[in-house]
Subunit: 356 residues, 2 copies
């Protein structure tokens, strides 16, 4: 397969669609009390998930989500050719320990909260190229492990500015394949299929790192909005589309602050996405009653909203085509403490309704 | 491209070879005094690379190596369709800040010291599928930033057991493409080509996470050897090869301790790789005179040895086929301090001589 590449383009359009065969979403108690409470596969009341540390809890949750997605597709771990997974923790330990026991060939990713976009992109690219029959894409985040990794000890009880987001405790996983999901379902086998309706990935836009020099780790929406703008703009350009060609454009976790900046930045390019735009961080929590300030965040935010809320509506045909654009803030406590800026990145995945 | 997949296989054989169009290697002073001192593109005497922190130094080095590889291929940053890069630091900040300025679509990876194997694998998969004309694969490590990230403050001057390895200060980068490297070279344009001889990637084997339960972060060779064994064994099985079908099998940074364990584990499978095996960590330093104990380690170890020492010999035809198997120890200081084990992973890349 040898092609001509358009200069300056960052997107790939697949000749044959990549099917999302199944999804799984597991969240914590707080997420299970939010607006999407009836959509998740599992709500775990215990933030420790039955183990001793937050990191191990996140690993357990990610492994469980991966296993559940594999099961819902009617598959076994040995049917999965590659896992693409990552998380927010240093050296992505939630993934290393989360999927280790599954014994599946594994590529570890780091894209901060954009990771579900990265894993779905690479998974779809691999399926479209014929590198595997089934590929698993997964990611996770956990409020306790993320606060410990990036901010203050929980026991310190620090106040949070209104620009801060609340890291979602959750893990989302998808099984991708070249064939439509099976049409038979049972208690345990529950492919992503509504009648003959399916959700397929038809293209991806790879994000660039965009750094406007912001340094406030409690305003990550502001840090990520320029990257979201860059990727959405590039996607529309590469695919010759206008915003209304998408039912919705879902960013990951810009929150109320980042959303406003995104609208402003898009307006500078004479593009209005206000009718189409939704943000997973604004969907998963009720900011009025749940005290989550600017919204939800973390890899698990966009991943669980995609798996529980977005994909079923695409499969049913309620939405014909959406753009999924998780956004990542590329900071570490070391770079933050050394006074560095917080670069952003966003990876876009085009997901469409198809009839099997 | 729709295929049948062999159950239990973890490898991909490319129908058309993927050319390594150029390479670049930059190392620090100590590496520049070792056995490969005449092979590197650049030796930087200043461990700070002219900036203020170790992390920024590593970023500068990685960005310089990436720019150099792009230049040696006769290209500009805008000619590169995707970068696959990663490093050892928390949230892979050396890569986020290292390649940010290049403005190239970017997928961040984490595979510990196996990262060059992961980036070359994904880069080759993307080129072979026609997803880009040129793709850059890069990684880096830095002694100062790695010791700070994983072990003790340098000023503390702790003693190191003989099983410990010495993190290489270095960055390696390769530009991959579907076409042979150009045959004309100049001062700055210096493609990886010897006459008509080139180096091509013909296949990859994706590693699984293997965890034997070892917990000693000062014996990472021991932690990674089981993963190296698993991937090498799988590669030989998937490609129906015996060790002598490779001129050499290069692991990343097992060092003297890990090498011995690898030989023992392979022997249990009735496979003897002692004649073919070399370890990049044992090639880059002279353990007798450089006080590096078990050998070199870090993403930069295998990446710089590949770029400076291995690939030119494959391009010249001195070696016809080699297996490059960087090995990663998946630990963080958090998982280590919580008493977790250190899982290993190894990704294999088959590199062969070809005539353009």
């Amino acid at each position: 397969m040898r092609k001509q590449w358009t200069k300056g383009a960052s997107s790939i359009k697949f000749e044959e669609p990549v099917y999302i065969q199944s999804t799984a979403s597991i969240v914590g108690k707080k997420e299970g009390e939010g607006p999407l409470k009836d959509s998740f596969d599992m709500i775990c009341e215990d933030p420790m998930f039955g183990v001793d540390t937050w990191e191990a809890a996140e690993s357990s949750m990610q492994k469980e989500a991966a296993s559940m997605a594999i099961g819902k597709a009617g598959l076994k771990p040995e049917d999965i050719r590659i896992i693409f997974a990552g998380d927010l923790l240093a050296q992505t330990i939630a993934s290393s320990f989360g999927t280790a026991g599954l014994g599946i060939p594994f590529y570890g990713l780091y894209g901060a909260c954009s990771t579900m976009g990265e894993s779905l992109s690479l998974g779809a690219m691999a399926i479209a190229a014929g590198y595997g029959e089934h590929i698993l894409c997964a990611t996770s985040s956990h409020f306790g492990s993320a606060e410990k990794e990036f901010r203050f000890p929980l026991g310190y009880g620090n106040q949070r500015p209104f620009s801060a987001t609340w890291t979602v405790t959750g893990s989302g996983a998808c099984v991708l394949g070249a064939q439509p999901p099976a049409s038979d379902s049972s208690d345990k086998v529950l492919p992503l299929r509504v009648g003959n309706g399916c959700a397929v990935i038809t293209g991806v836009t790879t994000g660039k790192i965009v750094d406007y020099g912001l340094k406030d780790s409690l305003n990550m929406g502001g840090c990520m909005a320029p990257a979201a703008c860059d990727t959405i703009y590039q996607n529309l350009k590469d695919f010759c589309r206008k915003p209304s060609d998408y039912d919705y454009i879902f960013t990951g976790d810009l929150g109320v602050v980042g959303q406003k900046i995104l609208f402003d930045l898009m307006e500078e390019k004479n593009i209005d996405i206000q009718k189409q735009h939704q943000d997973c961080g604004l969907l998963i929590f009720d900011g009025e009653t749940q005290d989550t300030h600017a919204g939800g965040s973390g890899c698990g935010c966009s991943a669980t909203v995609l798996a529980s809320h977005i994909l079923p509506k695409v499969a049913s045909g309620e939405w014909k085509r959406i753009l999924f654009v998780p956004t990542g803030a590329l900071l570490s406590k070391v770079s933050f403490n050394e006074g560095d800026s917080i670069p952003g990145i966003a990876h876009a995945v085009v997901i469409e309704h198809a009839e099997a």
